[in-house]
C-alpha cells in the first residue's frame, strides 16, 4: 500500500471534529525518547542508524495501537510523499529531509504517529481534533509505557529522559494546540497576546512548527521547558493558557462585530471575491484568505455547508496536495493557475457571504 492509499482523503481528514474545534484545530502531544548507549541519529553513521531502526521499528509496529498501521522507511518515500506528510502534520520538516536509517509508523486513524531516527531515536506523537490535550497525553503515555518494556530507554535519575538537544531533556514532552486566531489578528491584538504567552514560558509558532510563519492565522502554542516539571503540570498550564486564548479570540470576534463590522465584512467579502474569481493565486495567499472565509463561516455569513469546502481547500490547495492531483510535474506558476482553477470551481457551489441583518 502506498502512503496515498493509506491516508484518508482530504475531505475526510479535514472533517474530523472535536471539542472547541471552531478555534482549536488540533491537540498534540509529542514525546522524545532514545536508546541508552546508542549514538543519537544526528551523530550516528548510516550503519548505526540502520541498526537502531532495526531495533526500533519492530518494537513500534508491535504496539497494539499500531495494528493496521502504515510503516515505511523514509528512503522509500518520494519527495512528494514527504511533502504531503508534512502538509498533513504527520511528520516534521526535519524528518522529511531524512533518508536511509529513518522510518515512520502511522496508525490507521492517523492519530498516532512515530518518527524513527528524527533528531532523537523516537519522536512519537498523538494527535486529536479540537481541544483534547489530556486525551492525547493519556494515549501517548500508554504507548510509551508499552514501549519501555521492549526498549532500553536512555534515562538518568537526575535528568530524566536523555535527548539529543538539551532543550527537550527531562520529560521529553511537547504539548501543543493548533489555534485559528483570525479575530485577534484582525483586531491587532495578536502580538501582545504572543508576548504574554511567551512570558509564561510557552512558545508560539507558525503552522508548521519551529521557525515557520503563521500562515492562515494558525498558531501553535506549546510548552518550552521540559525539565523540572512533571507532565500533568505542564499539560495543565498549557490548558489554562489555551482556554484564555480561546476566550480572547471569542471576545475579539464579538468586539469586531460590534465595533468594526464594516471592516470585518469587508475583509471576508474581499477574501471570498478573490478566492472565487482569481486566475492565479499562491499557496500563502490562499491560506490567508481561506482563514477569513472560515471566520465568515464561524460568524454565519456563509451557509454552514461552506465550512467543509473551506477546510478541505485549506489542505488540497497546498503545494504537495495540489501536485498529487496532477500527473505531470508542475512549476510554481502552473500550481498558481491550477490552484485558482480549483478554487473557482469549488466555490461555485458556495453563495456569497451575507452579513446578518
Amino acid at each position: 500500500m502506498t502512503i496515498h492509499e493509506f491516508l484518508a482523503p482530504p475531505a475526510e481528514a479535514m472533517h474530523r471534529r472535536g471539542p472547541r474545534d471552531v478555534i482549536v484545530m488540533s491537540s498534540r502531544v509529542r514525546l522524545a525518547r532514545n536508546l541508552a548507549g546508542v549514538p543519537f541519529p544526528g551523530s550516528a553513521k548510516k550503519p548505526a542508524r540502520l541498526q537502531a531502526l532495526q531495533v526500533l521499528r519492530p518494537a513500534v509496529e508491535a504496539l497494539p495501537a499500531m495494528a493496521d498501521a502504515f510503516s515505511v522507511a523514509m528512503d522509500e518515500l518520494s519527495p512528494l510523499d514527504k511533502q504531503i506528510l508534512v502538509e498533513r502534520h504527520l511528520i516534521s520538516r526535519e524528518h522529511a529531509a531524512r533518508g536511509p536509517g529513518s522510518g515512520l509508523v502511522v496508525n490507521r486513524s492517523e492519530t498516532l504517529c512515530v518518527m524513527i531516527n528524527e533528531e532523537d531515536h523516537l519522536r512519537m506523537q498523538s494527535i486529536l481534533p479540537g481541544l483534547q490535550l489530556r486525551e492525547t497525553w493519556a494515549t501517548l503515555d500508554a504507548v510509551d509505557t508499552q514501549l519501555e518494556r521492549r526498549l532500553d530507554y536512555a534515562f538518568s535519575d537526575q535528568f530524566g529522559y536523555l535527548t539529543a538537544c538539551p532543550t527537550n531533556l527531562g520529560t521529553g514532552i511537547r504539548v501543543s494546540a493548533m489555534l485559528h486566531l483570525p479575530g485577534l489578528v484582525l483586531d491587532e491584538q495578536i502580538n501582545p497576546i504572543i508576548q504574554s504567552v511567551n512570558k509564561l514560558g510557552l512558545a508560539v509558532r507558525g503552522l508548521y512548527g519551529e521557525g515557520t510563519e503563521a500562515l492562515g492565522n494558525v498558531f501553535q502554542v506549546s510548552n518550552q521547558m521540559t525539565l523540572g516539571e512533571a507532565e500533568p503540570a505542564i499539560l495543565e498550564r498549557l490548558e489554562k493558557v489555551v482556554a484564555q486564548i480561546i476566550e480572547h479570540e471569542e471576545n475579539a470576534r464579538a468586539r469586531l462585530l460590534e465595533k468594526k463590522a464594516k471592516m470585518l465584512f469587508n475583509h471576508i467579502g474581499r477574501a471570498f471575491g478573490i478566492l472565487a474569481n482569481a486566475h492565479s493565486i499562491s499557496s500563502k495567499e490562499t491560506m490567508n484568505l481561506l482563514s477569513l472565509m472560515r471566520l465568515g463561516v464561524d460568524l454565519e455569513l456563509f451557509e454552514p455547508a461552506a465550512r467543509a469546502v473551506a477546510d478541505e481547500l485549506f489542505l488540497t490547495t497546498q503545494p504537495g496536495h495540489l501536485q498529487q492531483q496532477h500527473s505531470e510535474k508542475l512549476s510554481t506558476e502552473d500550481r498558481d493557475y491550477l490552484r485558482a482553477d480549483m478554487l473557482r470551481e469549488r466555490l461555485l457551489a458556495v453563495s456569497r457571504p451575507k452579513p446578518r441583518a
Binding site: T145, F155, F159, C165, P166, L227, E229
Partner: protein
C-alpha cells in the same frame, strides 16, 4: 514593533539570520542591540536570544576548553558547541561539567520531575531497600542483637536473589 529583549522600547534594529533552512528574525531596540554587540555582527550569536539570554556563554562554558571526547559516540565538546546537540546518552555524563548552568537557562529546574521507566523505578526502590537493610544489619551487629541480625541477613539474601527487573537490551 517592540524590542524582543526588553519588550519596552521600539525596535529599530532588525536582524535576519539563516541557518541551513531555518530563518530566525529578531527585532531589537538600540540599547539592547548595543548591549548584545549587534553592531559587531561577527561577535554576535542569535543563539543567545533564541534560547534565552546568556545561553551561548553557558554553552561555551559547558563545552569547556579541553578536548574531551565521548568514548561511546566520539562526540567532542566542539561538536556540542557547534550543533547544540549531544551525540549519545553517555555524553550527558562525559560533558557534565557546566551542564547544570546551561540547563538552568532553559528549564524550570535541573532535576527531573515526572515519568520514569517503571522497571527502573522498581530497581531503584529495591536498591534503596537493600541499603536500608544493610544499615540495619550493621546496627544490629554493633548492638550484638544477633537474632535480628540473622533475620536481616536472610532478608538481604532474599532481596539479592530476586531476578533483576527486565530492563531490555537493544
Amino acid at each position: 514593533m517592540l524590542c524582543t529583549i526588553c519588550k519596552e522600547k521600539e525596535a529599530t534594529v532588525h536582524l535576519t539570520q539563516i541557518e541551513g533552512e531555518k530563518m530566525h528574525k529578531l527585532d531589537l531596540c538600540e540599547d539592547c542591540a548595543k548591549q548584545k554587540g549587534v553592531d559587531d555582527p561577527a561577535g554576535f550569536s542569535l543563539a543567545d536570544l533564541l534560547m534565552g539570554l546568556g545561553v551561548s556563554q553557558e554553552m561555551e562554558r559547558a563545552s569547556g576548553g579541553s578536548d574531551l571526547r565521548c568514548p561511546t559516540c566520539g562526540h567532542t565538546q566542539a561538536d556540542f558547541k557547534k550543533t547544540g546537540r549531544f551525540g549519545c546518552s553517555e555524553c550527558y555524563t562525559v560533558f557534565s561539567e557546566g551542564l547544570e548552568a546551561l540547563l538552568r537557562t532553559m528549564h524550570k529546574d535541573v532535576r527531573h520531575a515526572g515519568k520514569a521507566p517503571a522497571a527502573r523505578l522498581q530497581l531503584r526502590q529495591r536498591q534503596q531497600n537493600l541499603l536500608r537493610l544493610q544499615a540495619e544489619l550493621a546496627k544490629a551487629i554493633s548492638e550484638e542483637n544477633f537474632e535480628l541480625a540473622a533475620r536481616l541477613r536472610d532478608d538481604i539474601k532474599q532481596l539479592q536473589a530476586l531476578p533483576t527487573p527486565a530492563v531490555p537490551q537493544p
